[in-house]
């Protein structure tokens, strides 16, 4: 990690959704601002900037993290994934995304990218997750529209679908 000095801008180089990117960031710049305003990756949303709402959740080296609680300069050399990376190709949705559409797991969609990134990371490591575990992981996210029931239903439907796919591939 580079030495931080006041008023300097630092070159930050990292992988974003599989591509190497570089940007200049002030010491104090948040990663959420770097992603959204310097790199144009506006799929990551900012809801509170103090780590509670979870809307800005991304994956850093495979683990979910709040982009609003990370300084841009800290990300040098890391592998970052955002919601833009989830769909397998343009015009298609991942199993998780498709389950959200099917089960009406979103309304305004503002909190959704963060929720998808948390669930994507979790289901990758725990494809057989139980409802209780899913709820626990979702509890780090605030959604004001849905009342959560359809989000849980979407996550469970995705687990079911992933299990089916796994069986077919086995």
């Amino acid at each position: 990690m580079p030495q931080l000095t006041a008023r300097n801008r630092h070159r930050v180089a990292f992988r974003l959704n599989g591509r190497q990117v570089e940007a200049l960031a002030e010491n104090r710049m948040l990663l959420s601002d770097l992603l959204r305003h310097e790199l144009g990756a506006t799929g990551t949303h900012v809801g509170c900037e103090h780590g509670v709402c979870g809307a800005c959740t991304i994956q850093v080296d495979g683990a979910p993290a709040r982009a609003c609680l990370i300084l841009a300069a800290q990300i040098d050399g890391a592998d970052v994934r955002t919601v833009e990376a989830l769909a397998p190709q343009p015009g298609r949705l991942s199993v998780l995304q498709a389950a959200f559409r099917e089960k009406h797991g979103l309304q305004c969609g503002f909190c959704t990218p963060g929720i998808l990134m948390t669930l994507d990371a979790f289901l990758t490591t725990r494809p057989d997750a139980s409802e209780a575990e899913i709820r626990e992981h979702l509890s780090g996210h605030l959604c004001r529209c849905t009342g959560y029931a359809t989000i849980v239903a979407a996550a469970l439907a995705a687990v079911e679908e992933l299990r089916k796919e796994q069986k077919e591939n086995a």
Binding site: M29, H50, H104, C108, L116, T146, G147
Partner: protein
């Protein structure tokens, strides 16, 4: 009036939403995602740390000197380019979008900075010096009515900005003849449905045309457009207002962004460049808008069988520091249905609107509903209990009877359709009420605290734009001219390839309007769902719109979708005529299905929809006479039932009235006071259901917000007016863990007044659920006075009685520890290795003070007893610069002195008084201190939980530094400290 059933049947089906693919892949276009001009600058807002203060001066010279700062704008600058906002009542009061001369709530804008980046703009905020003269505050709506209350607006001569009394039927007679009079008194708290996306505005000004162009995540009503244009002193056609394609939720709240649309527009004009502002979370919680808090006394005249013959309402509505448009609408939105779901023909209402030192109020989901159903349904519960009747029976006896619809209420609402009794009975049966009673019995037998709550409500939707004029007297209304109706609009366009586009002014905030409109129009034109595209972005410079446009009062399904249907009908009629001429049949014989138009009696005789649809573009001369064209059809629709208030103040405040009956079982953990919602059943009659998935989504979403309002959420203020809920760790929204899944039941009574038979459904549970939960808590605890939110502390009070002061009070504890108050007291002593005279000199010496005041940069001696310093202090993660004033008084040299200090900075303010005593102890001096301090502003909003400890540390540091500076030991005087002091010697 009959309702046509669709033939192809997309309507009513739970289609996947057309909105979702973009939102799920990060391609939504919310306000902060939109492209802006390259020269766009960023706006940041300096906000008042005080709830009530005079602004003596604003010095922006340091801020303006900062590189990258384009402008610093004060309230007077804004006033020079604008007009005071239109106020909805007749009152001698000014209402500016930001403070001038005086601040009236914590978070009120005081100065605007326009800079190259948001980071720089916020740097500049810290450099603006504002000199405030703090004034006494009034926070409680009842206290605001007292003669001795501090006045917010001296021109009003009172804090009561509106008072009206109403009577319908003969309430006096009903009360005098009643066998029982039963009353409740309720203080409904402040809360908000707080969307996850905050406000945002992008504004430009064109000096060549004297025209503003503003994009904001505004949700309507577009009557507010008139308020904005009037404030900016331009005709409406020079105030172009646009909305982004996507919005991150609103629930009414984003109506309040209009104030910032005005500020950003002025900032763009003054700075000469486009200006962008995205509100941060603290700003949103502290100063966006809130629902009103209300104090209500509601009394009923009751027969021995529980039949209510009259209601008398006395409502004191707290709209905060300014009456902002469209307030006092919260108070009048429900005016037609103040008798709820009940047939009560005698009604008295006294309404007072008061101003207090809180954030101005505005739209919030449920708008006025929670504030009336909480008292009304608590009252029905109390009536049953006081008369020893069954609670269900009291509700049943009072419901508007079956077969009475459309039913005119005492205050003038026309309840359009329904069978409340049947829906109520169906809810009890299908929702398993008897099982729940059994469950309660078993739980209680097992020693648990278990209660059942009930609530019945009428959910109004499609507001009459004239209801707010009920606040005016009939004479004032006659003078101003009648206001009524609610124009909805939809446009259907057909392009040269025959493709259909629907355009509406409904400004969705995530509900899926585009999907439902595609269903409605595709059904009518016999097209596949995918063939119809819908655009819901609104641009007042280009689109069809009116004052009722926007997303509020649950008007979409009932009004907007219905209007789209009417537009589709008109286009269909003309397409049928064109097709008939091509098919050589009568128009009445023509059918639309599967993308073709055909002869019903001979389906092979057909022509493609696109071909017929495109003919107005390519071959207008071939169209049958009198058809005109099918290129574009715009329909405006306003229901005739939405009449202006009558001369006797009758008002049909809404077009549609859904019915709700809820019941729930809750269990309280007696050890923690935590509430678990064991079962929640909610029955809705929202007329015809257009999309069952979305209806359920609306019900669940409102329910979750209502669980928050019932159990967790409150915009809390300290007695000094400090705002105490400035983070999402303080303002607690329910997570998935606290939100149970309700059982949702439906009873469909189509509205005879809407084109599709649909009614609104989005707000009902915000109205019914808080009181349903409160009634269950009352049932579980036996308590009669229940105040929201029912936090574990409040529940513990209900179970065990209020917490008593400790029998062994510690001197260091605050004398009175009221919730929310940030009063600190403390005392201590330090031994200093110097004579009393030497210590005395130090206290009067700026160089010493600089060395010992924690974080001091430069201490300036104003007079022998007055010092000024710049101080940097951190509370938890929040570090800020403050300007400190320190004064010495009551000086008894060299024995005692009183030190009073105040600090002021971007992050807040503090003040305190400390008495310092110097006692001789063998040539050394014992410095004793005792202090009282209070802290407010931003640090109180975001750091409340850390503040007490942090303040004690800072004060302790001061005295320890004094001891060290004098070469003495520190506070407790440990051996190591004494050793250090000996080695260190005198400085």
């Amino acid at each position: 009036m009959s309702v046509n059933q669709e033939s192809t049947g997309l309507v009513g089906r739970s289609m996947p939403r057309v909105e979702d693919a973009a939102l799920l892949t990060g391609r939504g276009r919310y306000i902060d995602d939109l492209p802006t001009r390259r020269d766009t600058a960023h706006l940041a807002i300096l906000r008042s740390p005080h709830a009530h203060a005079e602004i003596r001066s604003i010095n922006a010279s340091k801020a303006l000197a900062l590189d990258g700062v384009h402008a610093v704008i004060t309230g007077d600058d804004v006033a020079s380019l604008t007009r005071s906002l239109t106020v909805g009542v007749k009152a001698n009061v000014e209402c500016w979008p930001m403070a001038r001369e005086r601040v009236r709530y914590v978070g009120e804008p005081v100065a605007l900075v326009v800079a190259e980046t948001r980071y720089l703009a916020e740097d500049a905020l810290d450099l603006i010096e504002v000199d405030y003269g703090v004034l006494p505050v009034v926070m409680d709506p009842k206290a605001a009515l007292q003669d001795e209350a501090p006045l917010l607006h001296p021109s009003l001569g009172s804090n009561c900005i509106s008072e009206r009394s109403f009577r319908y039927g003969d309430p006096e007679k009903a009360f005098s003849e009643a066998r029982h009079r039963i009353a409740v008194e309720i203080s409904y708290p402040r809360n908000s449905c707080t969307p996850i996306e905050t406000y945002g505005v992008i504004a430009e000004y064109d000096p060549g045309e004297d025209a503003y162009d503003v994009t904001a995540n505004f949700q309507g009503p577009f009557s507010i457009h008139a308020v904005v244009a009037l404030a900016l002193k331009v005709p409406g056609n020079r105030m172009r207002l646009r909305t982004p394609p996507d919005s991150g939720g609103s629930f009414g709240v984003k109506q309040g962004v209009f104030v910032y649309a005005i500020l950003a527009a002025v900032a763009a004009r003054i700075s000469g460049r486009p200006v962008k502002w995205i509100e941060d979370r603290l700003e949103h919680l502290m100063a966006s808008v809130s629902a009103t808090n209300r104090v209500t006394r509601l009394e009923a005249a009751v027969e021995p069988d529980g039949r209510v013959t009259a209601l008398s309402w006395d409502q004191i509505e707290d709209c905060g520091a300014h009456l902002r448009a469209p307030e006092p609408a919260t108070l009048y939105r429900m005016h037609g249905n103040m008798t709820g779901a009940y047939a009560i023909s005698n009604l008295a209402i006294r309404n007072r609107v008061v101003l207090t030192n809180k954030t101005p109020t505005g739209l919030n989901r449920g708008f006025g509903g929670p504030q009336i159903y909480y008292p009304l349904e608590r009252l029905m519960h109390r009536i049953a209990d006081e008369l020893g009747l069954d609670r269900l029976e009291v509700i049943r006896r009072n419901l508007v009877p079956s077969g009475a619809f459309p039913y005119r209420t005492a205050s003038g609402a026309l309840l359009d359709s329904g069978d409340y009794v049947a829906a109520f009975e169906a809810a009890l049966k299908d929702g398993g009420f008897d099982d729940l009673v059994e469950r309660r019995k078993r739980a209680r037998e097992a020693g648990k605290l278990y209660g059942i709550g009930l609530a019945a409500a009428v959910e109004p939707s499609v507001s009459n734009m004239g209801y707010i004029t009920t606040v005016l007297t009939p004479q004032e209304r006659a003078k101003a001219g009648p206001k009524n109706g609610a124009q909805a609009v939809a446009t259907i366009g057909i392009d040269p390839l025959g493709a259909v586009t629907v355009k509406v002014a409904s400004v969705p905030q995530g509900q899926g309007h585009r999907t439902v409109l595609a269903q409605v129009v595709a059904d009518r034109l016999g097209l596949p769902f995918e063939a119809v595209r819908v655009n819901t972005e609104l641009d007042t410079g280009r689109d069809a719109w009116s004052i009722a446009s926007g997303n509020y009062s649950s008007r979409f399904a009932a009004a907007v979708a219905g209007t789209a249907r009417l537009a589709a009908d008109r286009i269909r009629e003309r397409l049928a005529a064109i097709a008939a001429s091509q098919l050589n049949v009568e128009a009445a014989q023509v059918e639309f299905a599967g993308g073709r138009i055909f002869d019903r009696n001979n389906p092979d005789n057909s022509v493609s929809f696109n071909r017929v649809a495109a003919s107005s573009h390519w071959a207008p001369g071939t169209l049958p006479d009198g058809i005109g064209h099918t290129i574009r059809e715009t329909v405006f629709w306003t229901p005739e039932q939405l009449e202006a208030p009558t001369p006797v103040d009758g008002i049909n405040s809404s077009l549609c009235h859904g019915f709700i009956f809820d019941f729930c079982g809750i269990e309280i953990d007696p050890a923690t006071g935590a509430v678990r919602i064991d079962k929640y059943v909610t029955m809705h009659d929202c007329g015809r259901i257009l999309h069952s998935g979305m209806v359920e989504g609306q019900v669940r979403g409102a329910f979750a917000q209502a669980v928050g309002a019932a159990l967790f959420e409150e915009y809390a203020y300290g007695e000094d007016g400090s705002f105490l809920s400035g983070t999402l760790a303080d303002y607690l929204m329910p997570t998935v863990m606290e939100t149970p899944e309700p059982v949702i039941l439906h009873y469909e009574s189509p509205s005879p007044f809407t084109p599709l038979g649909a009614k609104g459904v989005g707000e009902g549970n915000c109205m019914s659920t808080p009181v349903c939960i409160a009634n269950a808590i009352a049932d579980a605890t036996g308590a009669s006075d229940i105040t929201l939110p029912l936090s574990p502390g409040r529940i513990a009070d209900l179970i065990f009685g209020e917490e008593k002061p400790s029998s062994n009070p510690q001197a260091r504890k605050p004398a009175k520890a009221r919730p929310g108050e940030r009063q600190l007291t403390g005392e201590g002593s330090a031994t200093v290795a110097a004579s009393r005279e030497a210590v005395w000199k130090m206290l009067l010496d700026p160089a010493t003070l600089e060395a010992i005041i924690p974080g001091a940069h430069g201490v300036e001696k104003v007079s022998a007893t007055h010092f000024r310093a710049d101080v940097t202090l951190g509370v938890g993660p929040v570090k800020g610069r403050y300007r400190a004033e320190i004064k010495l008084s009551d000086m008894v040299e060299p024995e005692a002195v009183t030190l009073s200090g105040s600090t002021q900075g971007a992050l807040g303010f503090g003040s305190g008084v400390g008495r310092i005593t110097l006692t001789d102890a063998d040539g050394k001096t014992v410095v004793g201190y005792r202090y009282e301090a209070g802290i407010g502003g931003k640090v109180a909003s975001v750091g409340g939980r850390l503040l007490d400890g942090a303040a004690r540390v800072v004060i302790g540091q001061f005295f320890q530094a004094l001891a060290r500076h004098a070469g003495g030991g520190s506070g407790g005087g440990g051996i190591l400290a004494r050793l250090k002091a000996l080695l260190g010697g005198r400085s």
